[in-house]
Amino acid sequence: MTSTRRDLIKFGGGAAVGALLTPAPWRLVTDTALWSETWPGVPRVARGEIRARYTNCSLCPAGCPVRARCLGDQPVALFGVADHPFSHGTLCPFGLAGHHLPYHPQRLKQGPVEQAKAAVAEAIARCGAEERIAILDLRPGRTASWTYRRAAKQWKSGTYLAPHRILGGDAAVNLAAAKNVISVGAPLFDGWGTPGNVIAARDKFRLIQIEATESRTASLADTWVPVQPGDELQTARKFAQDLAAQGPTLVLDAGERSEILALNQTTGALGTAIVSRREAPVPDSWNQAAPESQLDALPDRSIRVLLIDESAAGSYIPWSRIEKKLVADNPVVVVFGSSADGYGRHAGFVLPTAVYPEAVDDIPPAVDSPVAMFRLSTSLVAAPAGLVNPAQFIAGFAGIDAANSLRERADAIHKAGRGNLFTYADAKSTPLKDVKADDFWKALNDGASWADEAPVRPAAPILALVASTANATEDDLPLAVLMAEAQPTPGSPILTKLYQESNLRLAANRIALHPSAAKSCGIADGGRAMLQTRCGKLEVQVTLDEGLPPGVVRVPAVPCTLDLCGTSPRAKVVRI
C-alpha cells in the first residue's frame, strides 16, 4: 500500500487533535510556569542534618548565650538558651542575625599584615625617651586584655589604654536589689546591660527616665521626665533626694558622667544595687602586667605607636581625643577590626580580624552582672585565611606566647574552684569544684558559662569618679545633640528591616529633626543636609520626627558621627 502526502497530512492532523485529548499538552502548558519561578541568582538553599550548636554572642559585653540551629555545621538561625539563669533565653535584634556577619559585603578580609609588622617593629626600635607604645583596648576585661597588659609591661614605654568606666569594671550593678532606678538617658530596654536580665528584673524596680526625648526606654518607664539638655543633673539630684528614703535607688547615666553617678553615694545604692565585683581568676604568671591607663591622662603628642583592638565592640572614643596624643611626625597607627568604617578611617594600617561567630574570644561580664563571668564565644563558622589575631600579633612584639591564653585562663579559674558552670546543651548547673579541668575547657568550647559566687564578705564598691572637664560653651550652634542607641558596625545585611524598610531605628547615614527645625533650615523629609560641629562636618539625610523637642538633633551612635559629636554637644544642620 502506498501512502501519499495527503495521508501523511491526515495522520499528522489526526494525531494533533488526538494529542489535545490527552493530558500531555496541558501538563506541558503548566510547566511553562517554571520559567517564571526561577531567575539568575536564585539561591540554592542547602540541605543537610539539622543540629544545635552553642556559643555566646560577642557583639556586646552582655555575651548572651546562643543556641545556633545549624545545617550540618552552618548556622542558619540563632536563638537564646531558654533556661539560662541570667539571660533567660533572650537575644536582641542584632544578636538574632549575628550569623550573617561573616558574609557582610563590607567585611574586611585582606590587609597589609607584613608591612604593618615591619612598620611597628621599626617604630618600636625608634621610640624616643618621652614617647610611648600604646595599646587601646576597646573592650577591657578579656583574656586578650591581659595579654595586652603583659605585652605593654615588656616594652620600655608600653602603655595599656582602655575607655574609662565607672560601672562595669570593679563596680557592677545588681539590678534586682534596686527599689528605684533613676536613669539619665541610659537605654535600659534598648542595649544596656543584659536584656534578659533587665527584663526579668523589671517588675522589681520603679524606673524614672530623665531624657530630652521619649526614647524606647522612656516609653516603658514608670515615669518619663522630659528635660532640656543640660538640666539632667539638677533633675536627677531632686529625684534622688526624694526617692532615697524608699529604698536603694540606683542612678545611671548614658554618658557615665561622674557628677551624676556620684549621686549613688547618697541614695543607698552602694553595697546594694552597686556591688564590688572581683575579676575572674588569672594565672599567677600573668602578674607582670601594666596597669590600665586613661587616654586623657597621657601628655599630648606622646604616642609613637598606637595599636587599636577594634575587633570586640565597645565604647568608641572620638578620634580628636586620640589624635592629639599621637606624635606629630609619622605615628604608626594599626587598627585591628572587621570593618573599615571605625578607626580604620584614620589609621595607617587596617588589619582584618575574625567576626562573630568565627572568632574564639572570651566575653567580659556585663555591667549588670554582680559577679564575674567567664564564657567563650566559640567558632561556629570557619574564618577565611589571611586574618589576624590581634592578641597574638601584639604578643609577638613582646616575646609573649599568647596562643593558649584562653586555656591558661580557664585553668586558673578552675584552680580557684569557685562558682558554677552552666552547660547549654543539657541546661545543667554544676559547681565548678565538681568538674575536671579538661571537662571544664571542653564545656566552655561546646557552649557554657561560668559564674562566680558572691564573696562571703563583699568589699565596699568604689566608684572611680573623675573630675569633669568643663566644655567651652558653643551657643552659636543652634541644636543640642542627642545620641541615638548604639548599633553594631557592620550589622547583618537584613537589619535594613529596622533602618531602611521601616522607620523604627535611625540609620547610620541619617539624623532626626523636629519638623519645625527642619522647616527653618528648608529641609524636607528625606532631604540631604550637612551636619556641622566644632569637629567637622558630615553629609547626612534628614528624617523628620515630631516626637523630638525643637532645638535638638538626634544622631546615630556610629563612628563617623561620634567623631563629629562625641566631644561637641552642639551642632548645626545646613541644607545641601
Partner: protein, 260 residues
C-alpha cells in the same frame, strides 16, 4: 482551596500582643526575616517598598511635646477569618484560608503580581517584591532550608511561620499522635520577643493565652467594625492606645496618631 475535612479538629491560630510591653526593639522583625528568608533591602528600597512581614510602628497620643507619649505596635497579617478580603479578590486563587488552622496562606508560585490583594488589605500587611532578591555572596548558606525564597513580581506576607507548623506536624506524626489534633508551635516573632509581648496559640483552645486575652476588656482588634474577624488581639491599659482600633481621625484635629 483546601476543602474542610470533618474529622479534623480545627485550630484557629491567633496571637495576643501586649502593646504595654513592646519596647519597639525590632527583634521580632529580624527573627521573622531570618526564619522566612526575607532578603536584605535593595539599595533604593524605602519603608514603602520594603519587605517587612511584621513591622513595628511607633504610635503616639497626638499631643505635642512634652505631653507626647508613644508606644510601639507590631503589625503583621491579621489572618482575617470573615470574608477574608485578600482571598476573595485574588484572580487566580493564590491566597487560601486553611480551614484546619485558620491561617491565610499565600502561594508565591501562583501569584501573578497584580497587587489587587495589596489594595484590598486595610492592614497593609502584604508586601510586593519590587526587586529580585539578592543576598551578599556566601549568605545563601545561612538561609533557612524550610522556606522557599521568592522571586520578584510576587506578593508575600506573614503566614504564622507555616514551615514551623509543618515541622510540628511531622514531629507529632513521628511521636504517634493522631493527625486530627491541632499541633502546638511558636512562630519566630513570638519566640524572639525579649519582653514576651507576643503570644501565639489556638484561639479554639480556651486554655491558650490568646483565647484568654481575647475575652479581656483591655483587648481590642484593629478596625473591628470592618467585621473581618481578625485573629490578632492587641492589649493595652491605656485608652489612647486602644483608640488605634478605630478608623483614622480627620486630618488637622490634632488627635490623629500620624507616625508610622
Amino acid at each position: 482551596m483546601i476543602g474542610p475535612n470533618k474529622n479534623v479538629k480545627a485550630a484557629r491560630y491567633g496571637m495576643t500582643i501586649d502593646v504595654d510591653r513592646c519596647s519597639g526593639c525590632g527583634a521580632c522583625m529580624v527573627a521573622c526575616a531570618v526564619e522566612n528568608n526575607v532578603p536584605p533591602a535593595h539599595a533604593n528600597a524605602t519603608d514603602r517598598t520594603g519587605l517587612t512581614w511584621i513591622r513595628v510602628y511607633k504610635i503616639d497620643n497626638g499631643l505635642p511635646y512634652p505631653e507626647t507619649r508613644s508606644a510601639y505596635v507590631p503589625v503583621m497579617c491579621q489572618h482575617c477569618g470573615n470574608e477574608t478580603p485578600c482571598a476573595h479578590v485574588c484572580p487566580q486563587q493564590a491566597v487560601d484560608v486553611d480551614p484546619a488552622t485558620g491561617v491565610v496562606g499565600e502561594m508565591p508560585q501562583r501569584c501573578l503580581g497584580c497587587r489587587y490583594c495589596i489594595a484590598a488589605c486595610p492592614y497593609h500587611a502584604r508586601y510586593f517584591n519590587w526587586w529580585d532578591p539578592a543576598w551578599p555572596a556566601g549568605m545563601e548558606k545561612a538561609l533557612n532550608p524550610d522556606v522557599t525564597p521568592r522571586m520578584r513580581g510576587v506578593v508575600e506576607k506573614c503566614n504564622f511561620c507555616h514551615g514551623r507548623w509543618h515541622a510540628a506536624k511531622q514531629q507529632a506524626a513521628a511521636d504517634g499522635k493522631p493527625d486530627t489534633e491541632p499541633v502546638s508551635y511558636t512562630p519566630a516573632c513570638a519566640e524572639a520577643c525579649p519582653t514576651k509581648a507576643i503570644h501565639f496559640g489556638d484561639l479554639n483552645d480556651p486554655a491558650s493565652l490568646p483565647a484568654q486575652a481575647a475575652k479581656q476588656g483591655e483587648s481590642f482588634r484593629m478596625l473591628e467594625k470592618l467585621n473581618t474577624d481578625t485573629k490578632i488581639y492587641y492589649r493595652s491599659k491605656r485608652d489612647w492606645v486602644r483608640r488605634i482600633a478605630d478608623a483614622p481621625h480627620p486630618a488637622g484635629t490634632g488627635k490623629e496618631n500620624q507616625r508610622g
